[in-house]
């Protein structure tokens, strides 16, 4: 029933990862950078599910489950940090938050 080769799924995964890296590098808003990190995590998940499905072993899907949990924790803490920064600096543009530079 499955006639799609494995490389097609991996190509989608590679494209999503590259787009996520580009977004982290070029966008100024910290929240859009966050969305691009979610894109990269999703591309890794897609590659893991592809390998798991083509090997016939559900162990790969357990790791997808773990990645999703860590992503949820990361989103909660990261957004809390962004809101705390916004309260102090009144901006979320990452090129204006340069208090570590001197």
């Amino acid at each position: 029933m499955n006639t799609i080769p494995m490389e097609y799924y991996l190509l989608i995964s590679a494209f999503m990862f590259s787009v996520g890296v580009t977004g982290v590098l070029i966008r100024r808003n910290a929240i859009v950078v966050f969305m691009c990190i979610e894109l990269m995590l999703n591309s890794a998940n897609l590659a893991l599910v592809t390998f798991s499905s083509f090997l016939g072993d559900p162990a790969g899907q357990v790791f997808v489950f773990f990645v999703m949990t860590v992503a949820a924790a990361e989103a909660a803490v990261g957004l809390a940090i962004i809101i705390a920064i916004f309260r102090n600096k009144l901006t979320v543009n990452i090129d204006e938050i340069n208090i570590f530079k001197w």
């Binding site: 494209f15 996520g20 979610e38 999703n42 592809t50 016939g56 949820a72 809390a80």
Partner: protein, 165 residues
């Protein structure tokens, strides 16, 4: 071309197109909604790969949880009535060249490897096998992740809280 192929190409185009638009659209709220379509397309691909439990978890955790959290973040850090919600881009040329090279390396490595070409024998529903190995082989990691989530939620609440004094 079977119906499986048609559905695969539909979800692939949905995922790739909206993933590209997440990065390129100027409006943050539009980016968040394109991210919704990307996550939905990935969930569809999970269904095609016979990962039913992971597809449902993707819809519930990402679309129902993380995306809503991101939208709250957008609304808390921008004045919605203002035009401030549009943001620009920086360093676009070197970033695109660098990630183009990165994608070339990934794709060429992928094409040089001899993958197992025919799909494996995955059971019709993976939830039973997933639950079994989650509570036998990976039970320690499972408990650690529970602790991690608890710590992350307490930390997030204490970071985002306004100081009283």
């Amino acid at each position: 071309m079977s119906i499986y192929d048609v559905i695969f190409y539909l979800f692939a185009i949905l995922t790739i197109g909206s993933g590209y638009l997440v990065v390129t659209s100027k409006n943050i709220v539009h980016s968040a909604f394109y991210l919704l379509f990307t996550l939905f397309g990935v969930a569809g691909l999970y269904v095609l790969l016979a990962a039913d439990f992971i597809a449902i978890v993707q819809l519930m955790v990402y679309v129902g949880g993380i995306l809503i959290l991101l939208l709250f973040g957008v609304m808390l850090t921008n004045k919605v009535t203002d035009v401030k919600i549009r943001t620009g881009t920086i360093h676009i040329i070197p970033a695109v060249i660098g990630t183009g090279l990165l994608m070339g390396v990934i794709v060429s490595m992928m094409l040089r490897t001899n993958w197992k070409s025919e799909p494996g024998e995955l059971p019709f529903t993976t939830t039973y096998g997933l639950g079994r190995i989650l509570l036998t082989d990976y039970v320690l990691v499972f408990e650690l992740l529970a602790m991690l989530l608890l710590i992350a939620l307490i930390g997030a609440a204490s970071i985002a809280r306004r100081d009283n004094e």
